[in-house]
């Protein structure tokens, strides 16, 4: 099963249309999508507007691959559960999000070897045909780095002790 998600905040029709078209052409009937609030109705995908966190996590865990926008929430969830993930970043100039921060996220996590990236619909279709090649990455812990946890813990307890 392939799980497609656009995240919590807004729809991302460019991604959903591209995957829908691909699923139709390839006759795939095992694609589940979370599409956000949108008028576009996928023809070849089982789709949901939003999913609660448990259902979302369960689908990421079960999926052979996750196809997503380049949001950190989705990326972390896939990394925590060890599911390979292919992202297509939202673009600021197309008003898909407020700026090009997802392009930076995609490139950073790709450089870290954590995600695969398709920059546009054409690359996405190509990558979807070779989903089996997606890199399996190391499963990450569900916690932040020890350095950050300690810095926060120290701040919460350290500087406010009774004098």
């Amino acid at each position: 099963m392939i799980f497609v998600t656009v995240g919590h905040q807004m729809a991302f029709d460019r991604l959903i249309r591209a995957v829908d078209q691909w699923a139709g052409e390839r006759g795939r009937d095992d694609v589940i999508a979370q599409i956000g609030e949108t008028e576009y109705q996928p023809k070849h995908l089982e789709f949901h507007e939003q999913l609660d966190p448990e259902r979302f996590r369960a689908l990421v865990a079960k999926a052979d691959a996750v196809i997503a926008h380049a949001g950190t929430g989705t990326i972390f969830t896939a990394l925590e559960l060890g599911t390979p993930i292919l992202v297509m970043p939202r673009r600021g100039d197309l008003m898909e999000t407020r700026n090009d921060h997802q392009i930076a996220t995609a490139k950073r996590f790709e450089a870290l070897g954590k995600v695969d990236v398709a920059m546009d619909e054409v690359q996405l279709a190509e990558r979807l045909d070779r989903l089996g090649d997606l890199e399996t990455h190391e499963v990450i812990s569900t916690n932040a780095s020890a350095e950050l946890i300690e810095a926060l813990r120290g701040f919460i307890h350290g500087e406010n002790e009774p004098k």
Binding site: P53, T72, H101
Partner: protein, 158 residues
Amino acid sequence: MSGESVKSNRLKKVLAVSSGGGHWIELMRIVPAFEGCRVTYVTVETSYRSQVEGARFRVVLDATRWNKVKLALMLLQMIWVLASERPDVVISTGAAPGYFAVRLGKMFGARTVWVDSMANIDELSSSGQRIGKHADLWLTQWEHLAEPNGPMYRGGVL
């Protein structure tokens, strides 16, 4: 103040605030830092409650800076949250709800932390840039965004 000695003997009250999606997931990754504290989570989705079972949980409107009316209503909700919770520490991973919570937290005498989202790689988020002088601990998750006068880098949620 006579209340101080009482205050120091009880659990630290932490108000942990974030909007939905990635901001919330990043907040969940720093939960171990709150061990031994009485935590109240404030976010924008009731369905997130089950992820923090046992902790206090409150929901505010999912407002962004693009909708001023909703934003004003959310501000009122957040004033009520701060007034009724009276936290010792306010910590946020963003975005608009966290910005308000940190600003209001200072006014209510709390110490405040801003952890800018890892999604902000080229520059700090707009809330993150504006919150600097109001956060006692002002963090970026990217070393290259750290500055001598803040934000500081102290590791990331990854």
